[in-house]
């Protein structure tokens, strides 16, 4: 070993402080992140505290946001939509994740591929599919009108229902993956022991699987909520003008109303919402892990 160290000591360039030169390759990536991320973020946050016309430092933009019924309604719709998506995703992901974690059938691979590959298709393709299905003249409404069950088309798109369906579809694979990790971590011997001792399937699920997979449930709820709350394309296409959320309202503010400080306020509020949820979520998850793995 000592010979290697002497050799490398000889090779070190003497005219540069050794420690600093080791950081040089970091310069290009850090400069890019600085110019394209840190400075824009800093400017945006700064802009949100400035008056649009005079440029004076002020909190007025924030006061305006929280006094504006339209904005508060948008915030409420964002929260409602994300909460519903989180619930739908977790409820639907659970059986799939449980099957993937426990099944030994040869269908397992097929189910896994079917559950995860839609992610490659991108949001546009899937949203297009849902629009074709849910539209006023779409597949479901045509079928129901043709069969005589309804005379007016059911409102399935351009509202909450459409957006929740579309976003559930987009976020579902992530819910499945986070629940899968959690359920795979449960010792299958616990279930076997309960079975030998005469527990029914229902009580095994109720008393063993569900309680031990709580961390997975929490992380699925969290990831689904944050992905839904910050999604843009699905609410824009399936909600449209009929169901505006913060993400689509920010876009309008930047490109149509051109009120930049106010757009900055909306973006900062969305960011703070996400960071708060991520922070609380990390705390809850850490506590649950401590409780379950003492």
């Amino acid at each position: 070993m000592s010979s290697i160290e002497t050799l490398s000591a000889l090779r070190q360039p003497t005219h540069l402080p050794v420690r600093l030169s080791r950081y040089f390759p970091l310069a290009p990536p850090l400069i890019v992140l600085m110019i394209a991320f840190a400075i824009p973020m800093g400017m945006m946050i700064g802009l949100s505290f400035h008056d649009a016309d005079t440029g004076i430092l002020t909190l007025d933009n924030y006061v305006r946001f929280f006094g504006d019924d339209l904005m508060l309604a948008g915030l409420w719709r964002t929260a409602l939509m994300s909460g519903l998506v989180a619930l739908c995703v977790t409820v639907m992901a659970y059986p799939v994740a449980y099957y993937l974690a426990r099944s030994t059938s040869r269908w397992r691979v097929v189910v896994f591929a079917l559950a995860i590959t839609p992610e490659l298709a991108g949001v546009v393709l899937r949203t297009y599919g849902w629009l074709v299905i849910l539209e006023d003249h779409g597949a479901i409404n045509n079928l129901l009108t043709w069969s005589g069950l309804i005379s007016e088309p059911l409102p399935l798109s351009k509202n909450l229902i459409g957006v929740v369906i579309g976003l559930t579809h987009v976020v579902l694979p992530f819910g499945i993956l986070s629940l899968l990790t959690s359920i795979q971590g449960i010792d299958p011997n616990l279930e076997r022991a309960a079975q030998i001792l005469g527990s029914s399937r229902v009580s095994i699920i109720r008393h063993i699987i569900l309680p031990l997979s709580v961390p997975g449930i929490v992380s699925s709820l969290l990831i689904a909520f944050t992905m839904a709350a910050s999604a843009y394309a699905t609410p824009a296409l399936l909600g449209g003008a009929g169901f505006k959320v913060i993400a689509t309202m920010v876009y309008e503010q930047v490109l149509f109303y051109i009120d930049w400080p106010f757009a900055a306020v909306m973006a900062v509020i969305l960011l703070v919402m996400m960071l708060t949820i991520a922070f609380i979520g990390a705390r809850v998850e850490a506590r649950l892990h401590r409780k379950l793995h003492i």
């Binding site: 290009p28 990536p29 890019v32 992140l33 393709l125 297009y128 944050t226 993400a247 900062v268």
Partner: protein, 267 residues
């Protein structure tokens, strides 16, 4: 009771999988249906919507998306290599903090990053950078954290004794990087770059702020059309771009050979 539960479980599983597959099947059927009304009757299927894709209104956005994704993939790969080299291979003092800094853009929703970058370019007077240069910048911010993470993952596993052996045998540092480090981290590098390619090619929330008339990416062109009508040609665009993504993944896989790493579960 157990019997009932098992049937209920299987039924719900089938319904959920049908829910996942449904919109995708619908798009495939729409792309080959002769009219806007979807048909599942193969005898009526036609490829005429695909023939319409060579028109410049679809070809130009596709080429822009392709060039953008290619540039972003290469730049992200290079920048990611540099960053991961210092952080994960040399493990410089403070490497954990630097890693956290490098992946910090992940904590910010894409739409917020998009607003920040468009406000920065517009209010700092860099209007000229809106369009392709802005798109490249924004997409690199999006993809770099993932690429750094994947390359760093490969470098953390790197057995330092290989490098020491080469050093004892008199290899220069260029030779050690070229013949030892790079081949070993190649799967990590290519899985990161594949991921970057898909993210950039499909991106909406960042691109939507930065495209300009005449410089519009494919997904943005498609959603702009979708707001007015559900023209079946859009279904064909979607299917074709999915086929393209899959082909790109296969190509990257052939060069980089990362599937072994994914299936083998790198630890």
């Amino acid at each position: 009771m157990d019997r009932f539960l098992s049937i209920f479980f299987q039924l719900s599983l089938i319904l959920i999988l049908a829910f996942i597959a449904l919109p995708i099947l619908v798009v495939f059927a729409a792309s080959v249906s002769p009219t806007a009304t979807i048909t599942f009757d193969p005898s009526q299927w036609t490829l005429r919507w695909f023939a319409a894709l060579t028109a410049s209104r679809w070809l130009d956005p596709f080429l822009l998306s392709l060039k953008l994704a290619a540039v972003v993939t290469v730049l992200s790969g290079l920048l990611g290599l540099l960053a991961a080299y210092v952080v994960a291979y040399r493990k410089c003092p403070g490497h954990e903090a630097i890693m956290a800094l490098l992946v910090s853009p992940l904590a910010v929703p894409q739409i917020v990053k998009g607003v920040a970058i468009v406000l920065f370019l517009s209010s700092a007077g860099f209007y000229a950078l809106l369009g392709t240069p802005g798109l490249i910048m924004a997409h690199i911010v999006l993809t770099l954290p993932f690429v750094v993470r994947m390359i760093a993952g490969a470098m953390y596993n790197f057995d330092k004794r290989l490098d020491q052996a080469a050093r004892i045998l008199g290899a220069t540092s260029f030779q050690r990087i070229r013949f030892i480090l790079l081949p070993i981290i190649k799967p990590g590098l290519f899985s990161g770059m594949t991921f970057a390619f898909i993210l950039s090619f499909n991106n909406i929330p960042l691109s939507v702020f930065l495209v300009r008339p005449g410089e519009t990416t494919l997904p943005i062109t498609v959603i702009n059309h979708m707001e007015y009508s559900l023209d079946p040609v859009l279904a064909a665009v979607n299917v074709a771009s999915l086929a393209f993504i899959l082909a790109a993944i296969l190509l990257f896989e052939r060069i980089g050979g990362f599937s072994a790493q994914i299936h083998g579960g790198s630890k």
